[in-house]
Amino acid sequence: MTEPITLQQDETFVLNVGPQHPATHGVLRVKMTMDGEYIYNAETVLGYIHRMHEKMAENRTYPQYMPNMGRLDYLSAMSFNHGYALVVERACNIEVPERAEYIRVITVELNRIASHLVWLGAYVLDLGGFTPLMYCFDDREQILDLLEAVTGSRLTYCYFRFGGLYNDIDDDFITGTRAFIKRMRKELKMYAKLVTGNIILMKRLKGHGPVDQNMCQRYGATGPVARGSGINYDVRRNEPYSVYPEFDFEVPVYGEGDSYARYLVRMEEMEQSLRIIEQALDKLPDGPVNPKKKPKLIKPPPGDYYAAVETARGNFGIRMVSDGGKNAYRLKLRSPTYSNMHLFDEACRGMLIADALAFMGSLDLVIPEMDR
């Protein structure tokens, strides 16, 4: 059903998907103009969970703003912690101890797996399968247990500090993580059988939701969406930060540009994350997790600063404008799904509603991160 269909505008009706709709994973609203079950065009309405993050940055001190990072994208909160820590460290020129860097990478990658697991479960739920969601959440609980033992929270971590971490990890965490890696490898094989190879899923995803490279460039799509379209772009590789250059991992790239390619990219990323964690655990140095000298008051010198990290959904950038005060003068959060979702309108035209929703799921949306 990929051949283009001439749609007639005079026979259309408007279908309002959302803000409360099971497929939108939150409070996104898409006004679809439909011709039968085909989509004529779709207008996305955002802002149902706009939480004023950028305004809050202007009236909170730099350390006080850290908790917000956990709530921007609650599924990969660690990456956002990392991004914010990076930009402030860059601005104030704070050295991070090596052990802290390694622990950061471990927690970020664990969080990335957790995030992809939620995506996998929710995506298959979108496609109508319920059981994989339960398995994914069960596996995710293992990660949450590990991270909770370290950070004290399950979801909205506020673990990174400028120059270091809230606290060190212990041996239980290391043994637990190793056990988890072993378990997860087995579970990934199970998912491959249960979900990836499933003919129904393949038929639904292969060849649907095409996103090409030109489109990625025009919309600024990053992360698995870009990598599913054959763009070898991963901030961890292209713009190395933290200790990522130390690790041997691959950036999965698939050129098909369809929903299935994005699906495979994420599935493979989980494996690569496991590899990174394993290497980081092996190389984990001793030492403190907080720098010896840390400015008492965080006051970056005036100017513009930028930092980007690779979250589970793509390139997350922070532009921080400082005027030398205790608060940021302006803090812009460049969230990956904001750009990724934007291409939905163009790409979904002429699709069946079922395919369009499968396509939307493959973009891996986290609405609060989009609306900020």
Partner: protein, 171 residues
Amino acid sequence: MKIQEKTKEALAALFPDPPASEPEPDDAEEGEKKPEPRGNGIIEQDYHTRGFHLDAQIEPDQLIEAVRILFDLGYYLEAITGVDWIKDEQLEVVYDFSRYDFDLCRTVIRTRVDRSAPHLPTITPIYTGASWHERETHDFFGIVFDGHPYLVPLLLPEDADFHPLLKDFEA
């Protein structure tokens, strides 16, 4: 040729008389008493302290041209944002660009408009994805992007008539 130099060369064509290479604007930003608005031109920034490589300040009417250059060089648009310099009575609009390949060059294009009548041309014909970014900037700062096909509030309620990120905004 490294992309950074290429970009710099291409962008330099925008400025008929390149500004003197003295790092005067840089100094101005580093805590001088009189924050003199920086002149147009390109500055190469230190990536390790700033996080980006090229920093070009241009006139609003040069915007389309500059963005077209970057599009042709394979840049993608990361974000558009505004900064309210209330003391200068100006609004700065910042365009962040980055590249997909390993030859990394983050480029920032910034332009300033008057706070009383903020108008800029839209770049949606070049970067379709700029649409939401421009709408968002319109939401937050009230900057009008001329020629934008659908400039209605995106993040704020449909009937919102306030611009919350302006420094003189009060709820």
